[in-house]
Symmetry: C2
């Protein structure tokens, strides 16, 4: 039994589950990671899966839990309705929903939605990373969060005032693996050092660029000029990421900073594209931010767990 | 035996095969249609498949044949190398390639390619429809040929001076059936009368439109505003076709005419999008055009078959 744990923090997405046991100063006492994402679970299994991970970490029976992510979607454990923009991130905990079927206290944080006609959008999970960024002092900033569905988020005074989801990652997968371009891309992987990536981003940043009218050039270059798989993959990635950065460039402020929350090769690609667009990418650790956001919500939800006992 | 046949005309694409027997005035004496497209055949089967259809039509053993389409691709029956832009369509027959493995004369017409750096593109099959249009007097015109891979082609004095392939149809299939948007589109079909189609086209025609940053709004509208499947499908179609028309608008001339070669529901969608973009769509029959183009090539390749005998 881990008696110094103050709370368990859970990031429960579509594909993955992460659980941290932390003390009241946010020190991590234990951690679990699993592919038991929301997408692979029926609602009746959430409680059991969570309890199994908590038991493995030696959590006490009454340890409270704060959850962020797709577990709060309509098809998840229990729906935690969206907070609407402009969404004050420090208040997310007020719309947290108690999870059913567990004897301990488990709260699921809400997502954020944007209802304005023509700009409808939703997020679940990213808002908790952003809360972590606010806790770290980033109350006014532009965030780029690359992934299957990239998010671009404008924060003002700790509130989400505007955001946009871009399906770049999912389009890359579909087009590179299943469209006719698969014949030219094969097993090629996008590399930010490849000249074809850079030139495709620059092409996407020009005025009047149209993504769909340029995609087939990847196939034509392979047929006519013998372009290899690596350059075809780099070109597709550059056109897609370049189109995303070009469209979102309008949100970049005079300080040119874009807070980049991601990891690995994808971050390298976005960093390069942002620099080409005249921005200054500032890399942030998404895992640390979501933990920090969950911890802030936990302190608000269960203040007694963090009270001084001296 | 059909003794009045002058030549057989064949349109052999990736998915379909069409064969016409025509007399020396281009009257159709017999016709066959089959799903034996190039995509389903290995090179050793082309000769046999063609002979079987010719036999069913009662063609004589020495009837010559002209073929257009993907049969001339590298992975087809035999490669017919591309004619480069600016490509004089009346001269396509000069680069026709004799097909192997048949005792009769069979010529496969070349495709057209555009090698200029940054504008690489290829077509196979459309050039023969365009030759048909030239035969019909359309020597200077802009053509829109909707499909899995739409083609936009500028003809000047009977030559292909510029063209562009847009993967609109293939993207619609991939995104509507396999991306996260499938959850909102379901069995919905795009309808040009749906207000969501029109408004999506208008959105795509605005300055600074970015397709990829707008796609996810289809999902968000379904989640937040309860948009139904038909409106989600119409919106996706409108964004994609609108993006295509918006990018190609620059090629529309002062007479505003766009020659539209296609059929069915897709033509209705493109017609509406073209009108919204300020163009004047002129519908043409693609089947009639390819036959006319093949006939013109046949007369050049086998002049003795068309000589006056009176």
């Amino acid at each position: 039994m881990n008696d110094s744990a103050a709370v368990a923090l859970v990031d429960w997405g579509t594909s993955n589950l992460r659980v941290w046991l932390v003390d009241r100063t946010s020190q991590v006492l234990g951690e679990r990671q699993s592919p038991e994402g929301m997408g692979s679970l029926t609602p009746d299994r959430f409680a059991g899966v969570l309890e199994a991970h908590l038991a493995a970490l030696g959590a006490s029976d009454d340890l409270p839990v704060v959850v962020a992510g797709m577990a709060g979607a309509r098809a998840g454990w229990i729906e935690a309705p969206y907070v609407e923009t402009p969404a004050p991130l420090g208040d997310l905990f007020r719309q947290a929903v108690a999870a059913p079927g567990v004897s301990r206290r488990v709260h699921i944080l809400p997502g954020v939605c944007q209802r304005q006609a023509g700009g409808e959008d939703v997020m679940r999970g990213e808002e908790t990373q952003l809360l972590g960024a606010v806790e770290a002092g980033l109350r006014d900033a532009l965030f780029c969060m690359p992934g299957t569905h990239s998010k671009w988020v404008s924060l003002e005074d700790g509130r989400v005032v505007h955001f946009n989801t871009v399906m770049t990652g999912e389009l890359f997968q579909l087009i590179s693996r299943q469209s006719i371009l698969r014949l030219s891309i094969g097993e090629g992987r996008a590399d930010d050092h490849h000249p074809a990536f850079r030139s495709a981003v620059e092409e996407a940043l020009t005025a009047d660029f149209s993504l769909t009218t340029r995609l087939f050039s990847i196939r034509a270059r392979a047929l006519l000029a013998g372009a290899d798989e690596a350059s075809a993959a780099a070109r597709l990635s550059g056109l897609l990421i370049g189109a995303e950065v070009a469209a979102m460039r309008t949100f970049i402020g005079p300080d040119r900073r874009v807070q980049l929350i991601g990891s690995g090769a994808l971050n390298d690609l976005y960093s390069q594209a942002l620099v080409l667009a005249g921005a200054e990418p500032v890399p942030l650790d998404g895992g640390a931010l979501v933990r920090r956001g969950l911890f802030a919500a936990a302190k608000a939800l269960y203040p007694e767990r963090f009270a001084e006992t001296a």
